[in-house]
Symmetry: D2
Subunit: 342 residues, 4 copies
């Protein structure tokens, strides 16, 4: 924390701020400048809220310096975290140059639908299957998902084709079931700061895929992951899915720069979901290519064999044959960056 | 829904879109213009996702027309909803010209703290007391609230001073307890789209105060309220607490225009929380005055008798004596608008 | 500037950064903390871009500390700037507790229109008249303003009713004319960072009203004003007119918190334009009241006697009789805050 | 335009709105739905502002349907515009599968600097050289560019290495000179809605590179280009350079989805500037790869041989050897998409 004093702050005011800092058990380091004095603070381990210094006489503002996250930080672990998700067809590896393809419908609708899509995306090389059994929907009158019977359908997809299953939990009850039936527990964007759910996910024995909230800063995103790690679950993948901005031509603004930004600060792998990020089919393909090129550790792509009959988000799903072509292009782009898609 | 065709769309393409609409059991109304044809759609009760029409040949875009909310809308109920919150000192009325003052600390810390603040804000005329027993915090290492023992302290505040108690629930477990101990169940901004929690709140027998999410559009905000009403609980107050924008001088950007906007579309009362909305003490006072002037049905204001010792958000709390003066000014401003503060 | 080092930065890396700073003629102040070292820098008068330090080995980030503005800052001048705009009916005073009402149509259309509106708003006590002769329009096919003949109409309004005239300049050529015909030169939001125009305004002998850009941070806003002051023109009023956010129910999001924020940092007066800020007639009235309550030094309000025939922005104009009522309410609200409307 | 009526609007109200529309010389098409009536309007060629209908009794809102742009639209010209920029080493082609590399320093500093950088980026295959002689800077105290002598240095770069020169004009005076000395006239983000400058650029005989404003919607961006085309200059390239959002880890949020979005609506080529878009060196490389992968028609990349001595924006410049490697990767990625870099 750095306290910036007004240019006409008196020496007494500077001294009073320093005394206040010391009275909190911290150390004050006044730095007199040509225009004004700033006061560095050391010794705070994050437990003291220093914002109140801002109201002392002569203070302009308080600037936080140390980042609040610990376990997710490269300060705590320099090398990339590499996750291994066990499946019937062997481990799927995510991170450290290994790029994962997660494909499937937005929502689990019927066994036939899931098996039909699964068969096709498997041919294109996807080894993780996505599909929502619990759907967070803006409207209470929209389809809310099949619940546990949806999870059973996903189990069948796993048994039939050897996929690892990625599916969303929306509360503690559904998380219990997702942990039982699936291979990766997804926490959606709307629940990124549902701290009660994050803590529960931190006690789960399955990897967690955490989506960035619609208006989450990078620090908030990493702190949400910190909640999970702090409860003991270190198997966390992050996922960018678009943020909310003034821009109105796409549902969200896919913030691909977050990929190198996360990699600079954290050892956790980060995936990209261009389907939710763009909300429109004709943007999913170009942005999927871009996501691989920017260095994402995986992609979540909505694929539906009959998108115009989909019960939710059909307009952002691509066809299995489009996915096949895309997977091929992504493999080539990854190769240029010395990365491999598995 | 309106489907806009390309200017060089063929007649066959227009016909194909119409047939597709009719095949869904809806009615198509083509409107040929000088430049292009648009196709109106009627008969959709919200259950069909028409976004997929956007991928038909010749279509430029699909524009939604009907608003998705029903019960919260002035279409469903023209006159203002007026809530009555029973307290030991009589009903507190919110809405329809009655402005509520909700005051208290950010977090419940100790019985002494709460009673000291309660005594002072009561003198200034506040009749609803706020204070968090469950605190959603960005960091897992920050103070998370006292839980049930915090609720017991709030009960004591009610018994001692006759306040109605407003406090936040963060998951189903805490909601059970909040419903038991408090008079108004608060759903925080981070949980505005925690639909599982909204449904539970919709089954509660106490009024709900729903805060706007950090990046919630007006439609999403009203749809979140719709979740609560659709489960049978019609006693809902909305609350603006600032949205997230590029603007970096305050923690959030308080969007006061949402007050007249809500009042145009919905019969529900809307309050304003200028403490979270601004995040800085020196902005709380002017924005509280502005919130009354813009027509808010109530204010939530953080008051702390020792803000620099507060365990959370001390820098946005005002002193009891500042609150006293503010309450007085707000009363005068309300009177100019023919409204009364209770 | 503060340079934050990685927690595992070596002593040599810290030393290298310090040497680099010293080689630029500045002074380095290393502050060793429990987790990491930060390095304060003093002696920089703003002319050296220190961002490059961020790419030195071991550096996490560079945090700017000193604010870049000088002349607009309260550091340079503690007391409020009070502007006096000479008119035929005596000086109009802006700032220091004096609140100015600026009323008139969005665009100057005809002499009859302007005189009709002027007559009515004068009765309500407005002493500054607004109206655009040069209109920055999103579309090249929209009405672009009457140009110099519009300025002549405004001159007539001044001569007839004694108003001070506020009107926009959009380039150097129009600024020459506006300076000649009007009393206050307005720089619009879209030109807030048209630095060529700002410099020209800085050499003008008339006061300048500078609107905040659609996505300008507070620092950028104040720096734009700094451009004008640095050329010698100290008679600058700022004006908040709404910023661009994700929020879609109003044209812009009026950021009223900028008023106390400006007042904390700068001595310049700040006005509010709720007409552009909201874009809808039914929001102009409540937000005008809120702007006075938040402490604005003036309001710009679009008034049109026949808004549905207006050539631009009719939907955000209010009627003269609405303005009369509003002016009365604003006067009462100002009085509560010990301020006067003139 | 579509007018949406309230669900309880009376037949008379609907009739009144229709009459009002017809009185404006337009045609009204009422569409009675199960819940409410909507009224389509045809015959408007863009010159009538229909927003005022929103204030008629019974109206909920007015939804614009036709896009306001004409000449830039694919409605006006279906096939891609392909620009040819003549240089001493032959035409550089932009658009229609041809991807342009524009490289060079942020600001022209000295002849030595420019020639040194030019020599190196030429080896990597760049054929367009960028460098600012007029610099729009947030602070009046920052380096503002060398002006005409900077343009002369750029001329020398052209003569020596055969580059086409891309450089920014900031007002009418500098545009005259840029048109004389350079091959492509750049209009910067801050001037995207400086309509006076856009009109002047529309009368220039050189191609224009128009950068997206910091908070420009897609419609505003295309309308700004429309200003240039409407004055007769059809040689326009668009350029995404990042938009302003709440996200604080990069200077701007690069909105790569705008590339497919522009391509759907407009025939104009669109480039990407990842240097300004990210503001940090370690993000420039990954986002440059992503920009090619998303289908951009060109890239503007800041290259400096001594970035830590740069007079402006050194922290976002990459080294010539980094550029060489990047150019190579971009060529490979372009090939996968069947595009060529020239």
């Amino acid at each position: 924390m750095l306290v910036v004093m007004q240019s006409h702050a008196t020496e007494e005011q500077v001294r009073a701020v320093c005394q206040r800092i010391e009275s909190l058990g911290l150390k004050a380091h006044p730095i007199p400048g040509s225009l004004r004095t700033a006061i560095g603070i050391t010794g705070n381990k994050g437990e003291i809220d220093l914002g109140v210094l801002e109201s002392l006489p002569g203070v302009v503002e308080c600037i936080p310096v140390s980042k609040p996250y610990k376990l997710v930080s490269r300060d705590a672990k320099e090398e990339d975290t590499i996750l291994r998700i066990p499946t019937l067809s062997g481990d799927v590896v995510v991170g450290g140059g290994h790029v994962a393809l997660v494909a499937g419908p937005c929502a689990v609708e019927t066994e036939e639908q899931c098996l039909a899509i699964a068969e096709r995306v498997k041919k294109s090389g996807a080894r993780l299957f996505r599909g929502g059994a619990y759907k967070p929907r803006t409207s209470p009158y929209s389809f809310q998902g099949l619940g546990e019977s949806g999870l059973k359908i996903l189990s069948k997809v796993r048994a039939t084709y050897g996929f690892g299953i990625v599916t969303e939990a929306i509360d503690n009850e559904s998380l219990d079931l997702v942990e039982e039936y699936a291979d990766v527990i997804q926490i959606g964007a709307r629940n990124m700061q549902n701290f009660s759910l994050l803590k529960r996910a931190g006690r789960a024995r399955k990897p967690v895929l955490l989506k960035r909230g619609m208006s989450a800063t990078l620090d908030e995103f990493l702190m949400a992951a910190e909640y999970i790690l702090s409860e003991g679950n270190y198997n966390v993948m992050l996922c960018e899915r678009g943020v909310r901005t003034f821009s109105d031509f796409s549902r969200n603004t896919l913030d691909l720069a977050v990929v190198p930004a996360v990699k600079k600060r954290s050892h956790l792998p980060i995936l990209v979901d261009p389907s939710h990020g763009t909300g429109k089919r004709h943007k999913v393909l170009p942005l999927s290519r871009a996501a691989v090129a920017v260095g994402a550790d995986g992609l979540l792509i909505e694929v539906h064999h009959e998108p115009d009959k989909a019960l939710s988000d059909g307009m952002q799903s691509i066809l299995p044959e489009e996915f096949a072509e895309l997977a091929d292009e992504m493999r080539q782009i990854a190769a240029i960056l010395h990365r491999t898609i598995n």
